[in-house]
Amino acid sequence: MIDYIQPDYEVVRNKDLCIKCKVCVRQCANEVHQYDEKRDVLYADNSKCVNCHRCVTLCPAKALKIVKTDHCFKPSANYTTEIIKDIYRQADTGGVLLSSMGTPKDYPVYWDKMLINASQVTNPSIDPLREPMEIKTFLGRKPETVKYREDGSIEVEKFPNLELKTPIMFSAMSYGSISKNAHLSLARAAEQLGIFYNTGEGGLHEDLYKYSLNTIVQVASGRFGVHEDYLNAGQAIEIKIGQGAKPGIGGHLPGKKIGPEVSRTRMIPMGTDAISPAPHHDIYSIEDLRQLVFSLKEATNYKKPIIVKIAAVHNIAAIASGIARSGADIIAIDGIRGGTGAAPSRIRDNVGMPIELALAAVDTRLRDEGIRNNVGLVVAGSIRSSADVVKAIALGADAVYIGTPALLALGCHLCRSCHAGKCNWGIATQNPELVRRLNPDIGYKRLVNLVNAWSHEIMEMMGGMGINSIEALRGNRLMLRGIGLSEKELEILGIKHAGE
């Protein structure tokens, strides 16, 4: 059979620098680098290269680089190289195209089209190094009324809330889609940071129960690894309805990734495919959702907030309104640019909507209906920096989930090949040889550094605006101005244009 597909990348080896230590050969799980003993020559098979930079990063002589090939098709703005190659691939295999991580497509990033305000002359800015600055966040239902008892003391109905030291949490990433060392790094970092990580739908490995105080456990359509101890192990339970990278479809962890430990954790036989159905088969309406919410509350003695996670889709505001009325304590919304360990490419690249629009629409709707305080609002799907966090909170979010930035901190180079299971950085793989490459001692510190750095920056930006409490930033859309946006976009985002 003729192979129609030429490599995307080329490995360039500087022979003047290369000392033939062969670390590239040993470290490439894709077997790109080869050494010919007889000729004492190193060479590369470019067709296997996924551009993950493992070899480049570890090469002690700095003799390697990966470049995008300049081999090309006749240029066309319509039939692009990617489109042509995808057609060849499907003609080869007859299969659905798979990809990983967030969509690379050029959808508008509204974070980059919003500018943050700062104080000048007429109101003082605040220096967070010298003055108190509160970014502690409580997630969950808030009391609607305060009653005064006869003696003047206050009576408040309290609901279970999550307490975060900073309004950032680690997104749901299942054990199975990522390695145990990656999970362990997230758990340890969450513990040190006073925030939460999320088990994803793969259950909770027995070694990770000790991080219970910083764990959110997920219940998804496959119900993998769900049992009473699991539900009680987390501080909150998240019902996963959808994911930004693949709204409307379920998940599929291939049998080859279900080794003994994943099998035990997920409570499924070894080597069987773990298939999460597209819908929860017991949820066909908001009323059904309410039943599951209250079943989970019942199972955990009404002590834990219930999160409902949905993907941002067209009627997101109405759906969120329904969820807020279902008894859920927190709504998590995931936008189209969110990551995944594996998703059909066409779904990932075409279904859903940017999180910024979904967030603004939901926050507006919940406020209009007077039920915004019934729920906490968490957003996900490409929160890339502290500025994105500040803008999200100003648009109305209580907190954010970060997935891709957390993985980047752990060494991910966004080669978007997670679905191949051969992650050279020990993150999206279950191969023990590769998993070992991620030492949680290093990993958790890098995560702590990242979130601490963002927290400092959030406080700096808040101080600049003259705001000393995250509560005063939440939903404060006057702190945002659009740049280069249409009237309609400004209307949906609920912000004014710069200069207005």
Binding site: D16, L17, C18, I19, C21, K22, V23, R26, Q27, L58, P60, A61, K62, A63, P432, E433, R436, R437, N439, D441, I442
Partner: protein
């Protein structure tokens, strides 16, 4: 004293430590220059690979070093940091120390040539290069 310890749980068998060790022993400042003359590891550290287990081995700088006792030319001695070091101008390459070392941590430099061993990077401000450049914290430099 601080010694170099290896945790096989995190050793990837990438062998980078061996190359940084060769670099450390050279007087070069630019990494690739250390290998111009065809220098090859192992020198002071050697990674053992066996059925998926990898483990870097280097000199333990023993309390009571047998190599030092066996040295016929007085080439081996302790420096002020406690490291067992070799004076290459005195070593005659008799390999007695290699035979005596219970850890197999001393490497031949060739017949009648000075031996190679870990000197805890005395020439690099006592910052062991194998530790500094281990990509996975598998090699640490600490008190026992």
């Amino acid at each position: 004293m601080k010694r170099v310890y290896v945790n096989e749980e995190w050793c990837l068998g990438c062998h980078l430590c061996e190359y940084w060790c060769v670099f450390s022993a050279s007087k070069e400042t630019h990494f690739p220059f250390a290998f111009d003359g065809g220098a090859k590891p192992p020198a002071g550290i050697r990674v053992e690979d066996y059925k998926g287990i990898n483990f870097a081995v280097n000199c333990r700088h023993c309390e009571d070093p047998l190599c030092l006792k066996g040295c016929i030319s007085g080439a081996l001695s302790r420096d002020e940091s406690g490291a067992v070091c070799v004076d290459k101008t005195k070593c005659v390459g008799c390999h007695t120390c290699i035979a005596m070392c219970p850890y197999g941590a001393i490497v031949s430099g060739g017949d009648n040539m000075p031996i190679k061993k870990c000197q805890l990077c005395a020439s690099r401000d006592h910052v062991p290069q194998c530790v500094a450049h281990c990509p996975n914290n598998a090699i640490v430099f600490e008190e026992e």
